[in-house]
């Protein structure tokens, strides 16, 4: 937890230049998909995009979309073959050699992030990897490194949390008073600040503070209970009804 890295994206500082999405393509060897980075959509070849929104005074707001690198990720929990992993450094990574292509990770991700290689005959799931290969060399993510305004900032998650709280405290008029990602579905390694409620910028709303894997966890915990209670019940009924039938038969004979 101590050395977990993360990103702080402050949409009030973002000018919509789209440099982050271009740098991401380069750092991850992704195909070019659009000449206008602001019009692009997440896809198997696009890990992050910047989109334009309109604020309450008609001002332009720019916001990014990327994998949130959840602390207790839904994708990790749902994958039947364990192809997803939350690494101690922060990135949530996908191992294509395990994947069977059930797409439960896509179905379940609360932020609608994972994308699929639909046109391939041996498709992979694709999403932002928080530049895990760069982190290993002690480098920040490509998007944070290239950002000209500091809207995307890379650092230790704990430091970023403090920084975000600080900014809201010092400029209460600028910010909507909430750090997105602090608690959403158990928290994420990507934190977001904004001047408006976050669902207006396309972020998932109504997420519980509880990590989503807890929801299925409760059902799975019932499995051994169902098995043992079920065996006892079936065994008991089997014996009882058999015995009952026998007694009935014997009584019939006696009469």
């Amino acid at each position: 937890m101590q050395k977990q890295k993360g990103l702080l994206f402050d949409s009030t500082m973002c000018v919509g230049c789209g440099e982050c999405s271009l740098a991401c393509k380069e750092a991850n060897n992704l195909k070019k998909t659009s000449s206008d980075p602001l019009r692009d959509q997440l896809s198997a070849d696009t890990y992050t995009v910047v989109h334009q929104f309109v604020g309450k005074d008609n001002e332009e707001i720019y916001s990014r979309q990327l994998c949130m690198h959840c602390i207790n990720p839904t994708c990790v929990s749902v994958c039947p073959v364990g192809a997803f992993e939350k690494t101690p450094e922060g990135p949530v990574l996908y191992d294509e050699s395990k994947c069977i292509g059930c797409r439960y990770c896509m179905q379940a991700c609360p932020h609608n992030i994972p994308r699929y290689e639909w046109s391939s005959n041996y498709p992979r799931v694709r999403k932002c990897i928080l530049c895990a290969h760069r982190l290993k060399d002690g480098l920040p993510t490509a998007c944070a490194e290239v950002c000209p305004t500091g809207a995307t900032q890379f650092g230790l998650l704990e430091d970023l949390k403090k920084e975000a709280a600080e900014r809201i405290k010092n400029n209460p008029d600028t910010y909507y008073p909430h750090i997105y990602g602090l608690n959403e579905a158990g928290g994420t390694s990507v934190l977001v600040l904004a001047s408006v409620p976050f669902d207006r910028l396309g972020f998932a709303k109504n997420l519980p503070n509880e990590p989503l894997p807890e929801y299925t966890g409760r059902a799975l915990q019932a499995v051994p209970v169902v098995l043992s209670a079920g065996t006892a019940f079936l065994g008991g009924m089997y014996w009882l009804t058999k015995r009952k039938n026998q007694i009935a038969k014997e009584e019939n004979k006696e009469n």
Partner: protein, 393 residues
Amino acid sequence: MKNGILRHLTFWKIIGAIIVGFGLYSTYLRVTLGLGATTNLSDNFPWGMWIGFDILCGVGLAAGGFIICAISHIFHIKKYEPLIRPAILTAFLGYLLVILGLLYDLGRPLDVWHAIIMWNTHSVMFEVAWCVMLYTTVLFLEFSPIIFEKFKWNWLLNIVRKISTPIMMLGILLSTLHQSSLGSLFLIIPTKMHALWWSPLLPVYFYLSAIGVGFSVIIFESYLSARVFNKGLEMNLLTRIGLFSAIFIGVTFLIKLIDLTAYGKLGLILANTQESILFLAEILIGTLIPVAILLNKKLRETTHWLYISAVFIIAGFMFNRLNVSITAISGINNAGYFPSIYEIGVTMMLVVLGMWAFGFAVKYFDVFPVEEFEENEEDEILRPDQKELLAED
């Protein structure tokens, strides 16, 4: 009259052959071009009809197998024994088709064996995968005596007979887990599903409604077999089965009603949205109409009313599974989805293959006990059909 039957059968055979032909063509496209070109799935809507229909409905409709096993072998209520074989056959074929359907849906079908050695016990999908594998094996063992009998492989027959009780129990336990776990799959997307269907009780609903529909499938099959093969089941057994079906479907509905009330979601039912309309349709078709029919003693003791109620329950069940997997998800995520012609083609082919296999098995193995079907019952069950055929000539 003979001619009529023949004409009837050839007509359906031709239709079936056309469906299978198109299904094979769809298969060819699916294999060569991949999921993107052949399905209407998208990043916004990654699970479609193959999950909603082939898997969710397929497994549910196979529930009759474990229910009848429980009634006759665990509770030792002997009079239902004639139902065992057709129910197990349906379940076995159903599961084989579910596995086949799954292979179409998986992006990497040849890697499906990964689930055997790469474990993630936190995943409901992992539980589902293991239930499918184990229960299909169990169903094979349960059905195998019929095959061994036919070919007089007595030593094998003796072995399966010896282990039959624990195998039955295992089958019931696995079914319980599997039916409910299909509902649990959706527990993890509370914010991506419409509130009319998402509930922490999803696994309970899936389990109870599967039992309800399992009974109705038995009625449905028995009626059809009586028409086509002159082999079927006694009416008074079926009447009781119909009542059980109504009870489970009714109880599922009552719990749902309490659930919706407790969470203040009742208003959503009358919200007049696409979701609310489809929800009402599901309840009307799958619960209100058939339960009303079945609770009426006179109606449920009439062959065709009983059959009609079974058709309603089965249709309503499929409606529910498709609502959970498609309606509840597509609207909220702004993902318009309607299956592609190839998705439909494959699904229809699987259904036809299932019916063919069932017909084949009934013809060549002792699935329905013929002796149950003396003059008087025949009168009762065959009359409408005979009339129809006679009229056709």
